[in-house]
Amino acid sequence: MATEPATEFEFGDPAVLAAHDPRDSVAGLGPWRLALRRLRRNRVALAFGGLFVLIVAVCLAAPLWADHVAHTDPFQNHLTETIVVDGQPQDVVAPDGVPIGPTWQGRFFLGADGNGRDIAVRLLYGGRTSLLIGAGAALVTILMSIVVGTLAGYFRGWVDTVISRVLDIIWAFPPLLLGIALGTALSLGGLKVGPIEIQGDSRLIPILIIALVYVPYMARPLRGQVLALREKEFVEAARAQGAGPAQIMFSEILPNLASTIVVFFPLMVANAIILEAALSFLGAGVRPPNPSWGTILGEGIERIVTAPHQTIVPGLMLVLTVLSLNVFGDGVRDAFDPRAKVRLGR
């Protein structure tokens, strides 16, 4: 007897199943792999993510450009020097104080600033500073938010009340104003808490300030999530098995916050970079002569007509970096939960 022809489907072969039924193909995947798969399909997000990686790579290469191409460092003044451009000697800074524009050659590729410093070199080193502060502040924000959000949401009661009111107070101030106030105060005497002392010109100061002002923006949603999670059956099960609050928070709740944190991170970095630039522009962030995109902008604003390169170039870098992070961050958010409406800022 002729055997019945095999059907198109062979049970027990997931590869075949996956090839024919997309719904079944994702059923066995964890949320992280699912998210990664969705992200990989988002070409726009990936392109902007690539752009961000490129910016980071270029900034990391700053010493190479400084040593081997520009032959100067980001701090060196060249006020009275001349440079040959198109066969003609030109002042790096003219006697009336107007600096040279882009030369499109190794030295002063993007021109000089008012102190005769190479803008291209400062831009690259400034990018390192801006990215470091952005990423550092975002990390500190996340860490602080996890701690306060989890404590408030898990314990509720007076702990929640105290933490929430403190967050409300911080939230009541516009981030920029609070940042300026803290930046101005701390830049004078630095920060001294017990044995820990941070100098006023340290990059840790803007990192901590930015981290602090953004804590409510992340801690509050996390607290809400923890409030919901603590009522879930798996938490009750853990509790029934004798797990204490610390164990429950670390083992049961934190892992469930991970996707939210991942979604927040790139958006938080973008916001931190913008705030750092604003604070530095206003003199309350990175302390001169340390370069950051904000300080370069601030130094150039008075010469926006005669030396527009001083503002256009760092401004462009800021736009590209923040745009790339935001588009990539949106992609990450969509990948983790296409229905979510998570947004940072006000």
Partner: protein, 556 residues
């Protein structure tokens, strides 16, 4: 006067009452008008609008900035005052409310003034001899920025201890009948007359104290009406003002409005304003210099000096070699660029405005031509020799533009000659107070000085002398003094006319430069920018004491 504080510097206060006169109708027997000091050929009448960041105070005993001095010296007149004239003539003291220069006793400790007869304030009340003492009391009691200038009057110390505004100052006696005012000093002080020529010492009516009216009575050629102290005030000609030798003012009305520097620059360009008290900044400066040169000028007024201080009590500046190295390495041409061309390189500590009063160009400069390249090789060699190579140095500076750029230049210079330098930039408002405390131990950094009154001791004494170290905070950021300078000050300051001992003052200037107590790099040029309506050629009113004397302004 002071470090270049606040917006525009404090120029110094100098001023004084100069000119302008007594509101009062003067009842002088002398012919009125006469030599008013006003520019010949200047058109009279009309009104103008001036853009300013506005005065730090409208009270003459409390004001400090040039933005206050320029208008307020037109409202009050001192017993003596500065001549309304451009150039060196502006340094000359002339009688103001006093009918002549004072008689000075043989021991140079007693000054006797006599008020002009029939003087009245702008509200019609009589000017009394006792009003001068009243002003001295207010100046001292309120602790005005320039109160130290009159601290040499006998009885001031006791007055301060009494802590009562109406207490007596034993060194001042007034006779209403004879209109005589006698001032006794504890010791001869040649600066005294120059100091009371400032508007801060101008008599104000004791009967009208305290000073809170929107239209306070004055004794100058203009009367002030403060519409809104933070927005606008108006100066109008005082009817009947007539004091011989003091300009009556060409314009009928001067309205002063608050504006930002970029806005006031645009408004002067467009003719919405006729003058601005500030210097065009950033992009605007080269634009104005190039495009409106027919109504723009730069002058080293008020006289000023910029230098880097070096604390001689801390390493590495305790060694002469290091201070010399800094002087060898300084490149004034670089700093000139940071100032946008508004800096005249020099190595003298005294500014050129003191020509004939102590300024003699040091040529050649001991550490190289200030208009030429620096000698970095020599500087590095000296640092090596000092044994301090590689030492950490913090360069201090204030936030006001372009100070951070100056400080960064200096940081880079120190690194080039062998130190590990970093900067510390403080807010302008707290900077001098912070580095002026010995406990701060500020190693080196930015400082400047703008003339208070045209006397060389005004530069040397507060900034470099032993006496300056007695106050805290001090402006002597070297925290040491040059013995040659201290001896010279003791000898020369009692002289009432510095011009008679000008060469001696010049020797002191040379001594502080040669001993590398300071690293001087230049004199800042201030700007005068007018609208097309103004008679720039004849009436720019550039003045060594007031920066611009508005009583000399006129329309085309």
């Amino acid at each position: 006067m002071r470090k270049n504080l606040g917006s525009a510097l404090a120029i110094a206060a100098v001023a004084a009452a100069s000119g302008i006169g007594v509101a009062a109708c003067g009842g002088s027997d002398e012919s009125s008008g006469g030599d008013t000091g006003a520019n010949a050929g200047g058109k009279t009448g009309g009104s103008i609008r001036i853009g300013s960041v506005l005065p730090d105070s409208y009270d003459p005993v409390l004001l400090q900035t040039v933005q206050a001095n320029q208008p307020i010296h037109l409202v009050y007149t001192g017993l003596v005052t500065y001549k309304n004239a451009e150039g060196k003539e502006g340094n000359k003291l002339i009688p103001g409310l006093a009918e002549a220069m004072p008689s000075i006793s043989a021991d140079r400790k007693t000054y006797t003034f006599k008020l002009r007869p029939g003087l009245k304030y702008s509200d019609g009340s009589p000017v009394k001899a006792s009003d001068f003492e009243h002003t001295m009391k207010r100046l001292t009691f309120l602790g005005g920025p320039f109160s130290s200038f009159v601290s040499g009057i006998q009885g001031i110390a006791e007055y301060q201890k009494a802590k009562q505004e109406n207490a007596d100052i034993s060194g001042i006696t007034s006779n209403e009948a004879t209109r005589e005012i006698t001032v006794k000093l504890t010791q001869p002080d040649g600066k005294f007359l120059f100091a009371i020529g400032l508007v801060n010492s101008a008599p104000t009516p004791a009967a009208k104290s305290p000073f809170k009216s929107a239209s306070p009575p004055g004794s100058g050629p203009y009367t002030i009406k403060i519409d809104n102290p933070t927005r606008q005030f108006v100066l109008t000609k005082t009817p009947g003002f007539d004091i011989p030798g003091i300009a009556k003012g060409n314009l009928d009305k001067i309205t002063v409005v608050k504006e930002t520097v970029p806005k006031m620059t645009q408004d002067v360009i467009n003719g919405k304003l006729d003058f601005m008290t500030e210097d065009p900044s950033g992009d605007d400066l080269p634009l104005v210099k190039q495009k409106y040169s027919d109504r723009f000028r730069m002058d080293p007024n008020p006289p000023n000096t910029y230098w880097f201080f070096m604390n001689e009590t801390v390493k590495p500046f305790d060694k002469l070699e290091v201070r010399q190295a800094v002087n060898y390495a300084l490149d004034s041409r670089a700093l000139q660029r940071i100032f946008g061309g508004r800096l005249e390189p020099t190595c003298n500590f005294l500014p050129p405005g003191y020509a004939g009063q102590g300024y003699e160009k040091i040529d050649p400069c001991p550490y190289g031509d200030p208009d030429g390249p620096p000698n970095l090789a020599k500087a590095r060699q000296l640092v090596e020799q000092s044994g301090y190579k590689g030492m950490s140095v913090t360069v201090w500076g204030p936030t006001k533009d372009p100070r951070p750029a100056i400080v960064d230049y200096y940081r880079d210079l120190l690194n080039q000659i062998g130190f590990k330098a970093k900067t510390k930039v403080l807010d302008q408002q707290v900077y001098f107070g912070t580095i002026g405390l010995k406990k701060t131990n500020a190693q080196t950094g930015f400082t400047d000085w703008f003339q208070d009154f045209p006397h060389p001791a005004d530069f040397f004494e507060p900034n470099l002398s032993k006496k300056a170290l007695e106050s805290s905070p001090t402006f002597n950021f070297q925290y040491k003094s040059n013995p040659v300078l201290d001896r010279g000050l003791a000898k020369l300051t009692p002289e009432t006319d510095p011009g008679t001992v000008a060469s001696e003052w010049a020797k002191l200037d040379r001594a502080v430069v040669e001993d590398a107590n300071v690293a001087v790099y230049g004199n800042e040029l201030s700007t005068s920018f007018f609208s097309e309506r103004m008679d720039f050629k004849n009436c720019s009113g550039v003045h060594t004491v007031y920066k611009n004397d508005w009583s000399l302004f006129c329309l085309k």
